[in-house]
Amino acid sequence: MTALLSIDGVTRRFGAVTAVDRLSLEIVENEFFALLGASGSGKTTLLRMLAGFETPDAGAIRLDGADISRMPPNRRPVNLMFQSYALFPHMTVEGNIAYGLEMEHLPRSEIGARVGEIMEITELSPMAKRKPDQLSGGQRQRVALARALVKRPRLLLLDEPLGALDKKLRAAMQLELKRLQHEVGITFIVVTHDQEEALVMADRVAILKDGRLLQCGTPHEVYEHPANRFAADFIGVMNFIEEGGRTLAIRPERIHLFPDRADRTVEGRVTARAYHGLDLQLHVATPLSPKPLLVRLTANAADRRPVAEGDTVTLGWNEADTRQFND
């Protein structure tokens, strides 16, 4: 498959700071792509370059093969859903959504039909005449989304789309966004600092740090085969064991308690125990690392073999479940 968007050696500097550093990525049509990074990783700068609010100092951004890096934002077939939503407060929900189509000078009847259709999909029809300040956070988020989607862009950019929502709504909206993306058949690029969100929603994830691309792959790849120590630490939770000049990394759910068979075992003492309902997390102090190892047991496993704080336990794991880093 040929790339819809190709980011080729793009650099953006602000004074002495290099926000995005020789970054290259390819994104294919209909993909749900996540840019994952902490604040200051350059993910938002990259998104703003894709939208047209920043111009790269070097490199090229190609959409359908054409270089768009210097094209003004209003000419790009790309739309951005802002983190603050940036809804026009003096316009109704309907007015906000129609705005982008009015800019295309479409016939009134077509604008009406398309606005109506997208309001159906995003369940906004009952609040068509309301102003943004009469909406809940989740409703505003849907207006921002509808306003961008109604333009039928080649590429939809979403800046922390669920950041302002509370936890429960967020989980629901993650799946909702994915459903919507399938329904409208538009390529999505989501910027997020929430690794769980990226894993749940995206087809592929790119991890950014200090303006550089650390790793790019499917959620399974980046979770199970992190390219380096930072990526391993950033995605999910990881135990690190330093030995003989190299770093051994193992996920908490890959460590077994009192294993029948394991490539490696170690004895330790339980220093803390946290019950999460779905699982039980143990902190186990071992001679292997200064920090206690984190072990995650399913509710089932925890019931079979109850442990208390202060207990001495045997931990074990398989070599195949560990990663090694030399940095």
């Binding site: 047209g52 934002p73 705005y99």
Partner: protein
């Protein structure tokens, strides 16, 4: 007592406005007493004065009449009123255009430089109104600085007559009240979430369309506040028309001044004053209603 009951009767919106206890009443008392003694009472007296008859030798005859108010629609005085309104209106229009542009430029400047630019914009305000107006006489005089400047550039014809014209009066009014407009327009412009303009561009609008459909409508309350200020102060102004208009331009302010100080017709002066105050109150009320209506919208569209 009202303060205790009101929050239960009215939902959210008024709760914020209601004074919840006696402390705020105490804090407001000095200002209220000051305003009552020096604003409400004198205005009431002036209003009452408007309904009396002028005495034969300038005194006041305490018999009720509506003559003074009827006299205002007399073509002579109605003409003065219309001239005042036209001059004040033009001054307002020019001040709003210049002031809005300046406020826009200040709001677009780097954040750390904005306080200095605002300070410079209001700097003339710290000098005396009369001195500032006299400065314009020095500039616009037949042999003033502008004429001398033209001479230095090789102009040899008749000196242009600029002083004692309607243009000079409007220039003086615009100059004096411009800082109000800049401050009134700067506030909503500075509060505007810059992402709104970006969102508009992103949705396909040109820079001009973005200004017309997003930035301008959202800053109308500031424009209205500044405009009402300039208009109200201009229509009642008597110093600028007297000094820069050379007495050739009678405005409402001059008319009132003359009634009280030279014609000795206090009742008629009072009647014109009241009409002027009524117009001002009307405009300020409309502006306040518009601002209140826009308040909810602005909350959403501003950052921080």
């Amino acid at each position: 007592m009202r303060g205790h009951l009101a929050p239960h009767r009215f939902p959210e919106k008024t709760r914020r406005v209601q004074s919840p206890n006696t402390r705020s009443t105490l804090l407001m008392a000095p200002a209220l007493m000051w305003l009552t003694a020096l604003m409400v009472v004198p205005c009431g007296l002036i209003l009452a004065l408007g309904f009396f008859r002028r005495g034969l030798y300038g005194g006041i005859e305490y018999t009720f009449t509506l003559e003074n108010f009827a006299l205002i629609v007399d073509p002579l005085y109605a003409g003065i009123f219309l001239t005042s309104a036209r001059i004040a209106g033009l001054a307002t229009l020019i001040a709003v255009v210049i002031g809005y542009a300046a406020a826009y430029a200040i709001a677009a400047a780097p954040r750390h430089r904005q306080p200095l630019l605002l300070f410079l914009a209001v700097l003339p305000f710290w000098s005396n109104y009369l001195i500032r107006t006299y400065a314009w006489i020095v500039l616009l005089n037949r042999e003033g600085l502008i004429t001398q400047g033209l001479r230095m550039l090789g102009y040899e014809g008749e000196p242009p007559s600029m002083l004692y014209t309607e243009g000079a009066v409007i220039t003086g009014l615009v100059y004096n009240y411009l800082p109000f407009v800049i401050l009134a327009c700067y506030a909503p412009l500075a509060r505007l979430n810059p992402e709104l303009a970006e969102a508009s561009r992103d949705l396909g609008a040109s820079a001009f369309t973005t200004f017309r459909r997003v930035i301008l409508p959202m800053t109308v309350p500031g424009i209205a506040a500044g405009a009402v200020f300039v208009f109200v102060l201009s229509i009642g102004n008597f110093i600028t028309p007297a000094l820069l208009g050379g007495g050739r331009f009678q405005m409402m302010g001059n008319l009132i001044y003359a009634q009280f100080l030279t014609a000795n017709d206090w009742p008629f002066g009072a009647a014109i004053s009241m009409v002027l105050i009524a117009i001002m109150m009307g405009l300020l009320t409309i502006q306040a209603i518009a601002a209140e209506k826009g308040a909810g919208e602005r909350r959403e569209g501003t950052d921080g």
